[in-house]
């Protein structure tokens, strides 16, 4: 699809979203090339939403094998896929979601990819990777002007972290007109006017956002803001767990894993000078497996951020999103 203009077929297919974000956004989406790392519960949801939105190409990078548990949380695979390579197994169903998108699978290990691999994308979406790999990819992306968004679902909890670099965007704001009076004295209908406003957000590099214990990095800029959302710390605890254990918490080791999480919690909260009561230990009951409806919520949030990132339309989340696993409140937390 080298033609910059939308075809009549595309205009018809994408009609309902073009009416929301406009034809320029749709053309930008159509020119964008996306890398998705990890196509499990959350990854399958992200893939669905961005394929439907009409991007140019998507590469799905995942070196995993389909397990029975995996198959339960992923609507892109079925039982026949068990034991096979997940990135390849999702292709048929994923492509059926939108035949217009160029879709490819890559079954190699994300940590083996070099700078050249990443620089061809408009945006990289990463799930389930360790923080050190994330920070490495972030550095590469920064040097090639590639945006990055990272997210996970752990149990009923979910988050995303964005680095959209220096992000210029525009926003249509509704300007409410004051009541005008027609000259016959009757109240004329006020006409609301839509104005396009341009803005910019400068995102911090992720090594300033995701700081784990024992990295000897300063956290003063994060501590400066009092009353941080406690789920920001839950995210760090879970990331540190993944770093140390090389996996997410698992139901089969539940008691052991909760004990590890409690230890990490103490270290993280101490690092940030936060009272240990701020985060109740009972929350760790809710971080096992991937709860599918939570994947749907986070997959929606992250895909919407990808769409904002490439279309440069509407205010993106700046820069952390946290989904409260108890109240189902979804909030932005800014780490600057």
């Amino acid at each position: 699809m080298t033609d910059k203009q939308l075809s009549a077929q595309e205009a018809e297919l994408y009609d309902r979203q073009i009416r929301l974000w406009g034809i320029e956004s749709q053309e930008r989406l159509r020119a964008s090339n996306v890398l998705l790392i990890g196509v499990r519960g959350l990854g399958s949801e992200i893939a669905k939403n961005i394929l439907l939105s009409g991007i140019n190409s998507l590469i799905i990078l995942d070196d995993g094998i389909v397990t029975e548990e995996e198959q339960h949380v992923n609507f892109l695979i079925n039982r026949e896929s068990i034991g096979k390579k997940i990135a390849e197994e999702v292709l048929i169903k994923a492509q059926a979601l939108n035949p217009l998108v160029k879709l490819t699978a890559d079954t190699s290990d994300p940590s083996t990819k070099d700078a050249k691999f990443f620089e061809k994308f408009t945006i990289v979406v990463a799930t389930r990777i360790k923080v050190d790999l994330l920070l490495k990819i972030n550095r590469i992306c920064r040097s090639s002007n590639v945006k990055l968004i990272f997210g996970d679902v752990l149990g009923s909890f979910g988050y995303s972290v964005s680095d959209f670099l220096v992000h210029d965007y525009c926003e249509d704001q509704l300007k409410l007109a004051g009541k005008k009076r027609a000259y016959d004295g009757s109240a004329a209908k006020p006409e609301n006017e839509t104005v396009r406003v341009k803005s910019q957000i400068v995102f911090p590099e992720l090594n300033k956002v995701l700081i784990l214990p024992n990295t000897k990095q300063s956290v003063e800029h994060i501590k400066k803001v009092k009353r941080r959302n406690e789920y920001f710390f839950l995210m760090l605890i879970l990331l540190d767990f993944r770093n140390r254990q090389n996996r997410n918490p698992e139901v089969s080791h539940k008691e052991k894993d909760i004990a590890v999480l409690q230890n990490i919690k103490a270290e993280v909260l101490d690092l940030y000078g936060v009272d240990h009561n701020k985060l109740d230990d009972s929350i760790f009951e809710l971080v096992f497996g991937e709860v599918v409806p939570v994947c749907a919520v986070l997959g929606g949030v992250i895909a919407q951020e990808i769409i904002k990132g490439v279309s440069k339309k509407e205010v993106p989340l700046n820069n952390v999103f946290l989904f409260d696993p108890v109240r189902y409140c979804g909030k932005e937390e800014t780490i600057a």
């Binding site: 029975e68 599918v292 749907a296 919407q304 509407e314 409140c329 979804g330």
Partner: protein
């Protein structure tokens, strides 16, 4: 292979985990939210699902209704959604109904079979109906909707929360007939007129959709003059006949609607004392109004749909499509206007723009005309995914009756002013004690002109359209006289009689009973004559005292729960000319959690 319990998510309440596999769930609607909800249910271990949807699949659904593909266009949504789910989850028991949920086949006993009902609807009529069915069956209902980037999820449970109809919805926007026919001032007026013109030319006869000048316009009359001619319409009787007689000659049609009728309007001088008078436009003159650039050569999506056509192009499009549609009409009794039918859409775009030109109103692109004429609400996959995720998270809680943990949640577009994307209310919304649906003894005041309104109009406009009954039986209280019957053929003799002729006068009480909805409503009739031309013909007010209360309590927040939220109960219904949002619940938003005071969140397990 037997279903494995591991498909039930681990990190939810253990009591809910045990309930999931035995639960029976009804999903109403297999559209944007419905597809997502079905997927979430199946992947969360629900084994017994039923889905009902009347609709068939359209191309414009495919950007979000991901259980459907191109080859499914035209097929029933419920059936294809079921097949798609089964392809991945062969063990799920899933039953599909390609049918209207309003049908009498789905009575209270049908609803009672379920543990939960999940609404994923796109229109108010069906939402109101399912609300009543779930109240009658006493089954918890999760109501949801999206519109563009926003959406919401709300629990409705009899005796626990407010019902869908506790808070009146803003009335749908309509326009007085004389604005459309005589004095348009906005693009939308011209678009409505153009749709009426389509119906005049090809559609079913509807006297409310006359496009010719309205001489009964009160504004047009000189002082003291009060003509009561039997009809205010010019050449009313013969318009369609005349159209057929001239063989749908495009030039003659053009000159009648855009020149002769406009000249007639100009003769109603009172209308133009304070307005810019319209400029009559003949066919020959229209063809001179060409664009500066050559429109023929450019045929991209942008130029065809996004840019405003020249008047000359509009005239040509008018002529071409009149001829196409005439062939389409053939020997059919009439055509039904459809925004997705190219010739019908082109004709309306052309006519709306010619009329806009005549009245010095800004012209609009086909893309814009389609939004307005088709009442299209934008819809995206991401918002539907988020809302459907929350619906199923709440479904887990409802299985163990944790109603208090299910306050309404609002999905909001991220703005620089707000950190919230998903904002839950602090508590459940309490029922409105004066609600004419869920209160102990439903009661409503109807203001209507008893001398003019016929029984049929009362049944269709007031009871069905505005009070959302499906098949009402009505008895005049005190006299015990049956006025309207849901049995066909029983009471038709009354249809054309006025209310007054049947003894329904100011102060009369009507007992209205909808057997299907298991709903009894007492209606107090109040004589009311619309004075202003812009005034709706009926008014429906739940509680008369609210009218006074409204003025006194204007500044008071309705957040406290001991008092009824009395400042919102007066309703002004006007004729509905537009449908409800695509997958949008157009409910009034309640006050949201404020941004600043929500940093401390208790973790309750």
């Amino acid at each position: 292979m037997a279903p494995t319990s591991s498909s039930v998510p681990y990190s939810i309440d253990p009591r809910a985990r045990e309930m999931i596999q035995g639960a029976k769930v009804l999903v109403v609607g297999a559209g944007g939210i419905g597809c997502e909800v079905l997927k979430n249910l199946a992947l969360s271990g629900f084994q017994d699902i039923e889905i009902i949807d009347l609709d068939t699949i359209d191309v414009s659904n495919l950007n979000r209704q991901f259980l459907f593909r191109k080859e499914h266009v035209g097929k029933p949504k419920a059936v294809v959604a079921r097949q798609s789910i089964l392809a991945n989850n062969p063990d799920v028991k899933i039953k599909a109904y390609h049918d209207s949920v309003l049908s009498s086949d789905y009575g209270v006993n049908f609803f009672k079979r379920f543990n939960l009902v999940l609404n994923a609807l796109d229109n108010r009529t069906a939402r109101n109906h399912v609300n009543r069915m779930c109240l009658a069956a006493d089954i918890p209902l999760i109501e949801s909707g999206t519109s563009g980037y926003s959406g919401q999820v709300e629990l409705i449970k009899k005796g626990v929360t407010q019902c869908y109809e506790c808070q009146p919805k803003p009335p749908q926007k309509t326009f007085p007939g004389c604005t459309i026919r005589n004095t348009p001032s906005e693009p939308v007026h011209c678009i409505v007129w153009a749709k009426h013109l389509f119906n005049q030319l090809f559609g079913e006869d509807d006297p409310d959709q006359d496009v010719s000048p309205d001489t009964e316009d009160p504004e047009a009359k000189s002082e003291g003059e009060n003509s009561l001619t039997e009809s205010g319409n010019v050449k009313r009787v013969s318009t369609r006949q005349w159209i057929q007689e001239i063989g749908y000659d495009a030039e003659k049609l053009f000159n009648k609607f855009f020149m002769d009728d406009i000249n007639y309007l100009l003769s109603m001088e009172n209308l133009w004392k304070k307005r810019t008078p319209p400029k009559p436009l003949s066919w020959d003159n229209a063809l001179q109004l060409v664009a500066e650039k050559n429109e023929e050569n450019e045929n991209t999506v942008r130029t065809r749909d996004m840019e405003v056509w020249s008047i000359a192009k509009c005239a040509q499009v008018f002529a071409n499509n009149v001829s196409i549609l005439r062939k389409e009409l053939g020997s059919k009794p009439f055509l039904v206007w459809d925004k997705d039918d190219q010739p019908a859409m082109d004709l309306v775009t052309a006519c709306a723009n010619i009329r806009a030109y005549i009245f010095s109103i800004p012209q609009t692109s086909k893309f814009q005309v389609k939004s307005i004429a088709g009442n299209i609400i934008p819809a995206i996959a991401t918002a539907n995914a988020m809302i459907a995720g929350l619906v199923v998270l709440y479904a887990f809680r409802l299985l163990i009756q944790e109603y208090e943990k299910c306050p309404s949640i609002y999905l909001r577009q991220k703005s620089i002013h707000s950190k919230f994307i998903l904002a839950p209310d602090r508590q459940l919304s309490k029922a409105n004690p004066a609600c004419y649906v869920c209160s102990e003894k439903p009661f409503v005041n109807v203001f209507v002109d008893v001398d003019k309104t016929t029984v049929k109009e009362f049944e269709n406009e007031v009871l069905k359209k505005h009070l959302n009954m499906v098949a009402p039986d009505v008895i005049l209280d005190g006299k015990g006289v049956m006025v309207i019957s849901s049995e066909e053929g029983e009471m038709e003799v009354n249809n054309d009689k006025t209310l007054a002729e049947l003894g329904i006068l100011d102060g009369s009480i009507l007992k209205c009973d909808d057997f299907l909805q298991n709903y009894e409503l007492t209606v107090a009739v109040n004589q009311h004559v619309a004075v202003d031309k812009d005034e709706p013909p009926f008014k429906i007010i739940a509680n008369l005292e609210d009218l006074k209360a409204k003025e006194i309590e204007n500044g008071k927040e309705n957040g406290d729960n001991k008092e009824p939220e009395s400042d919102e109960n007066d309703l002004m219904f006007v004729e509905e000319g537009f449908e409800d949002p695509q997958e949008g619940s157009s409910r009034k938003r309640r006050k949201l959690d404020s941004d600043s005071d929500d940093d401390i969140v208790e973790v309750q397990m």
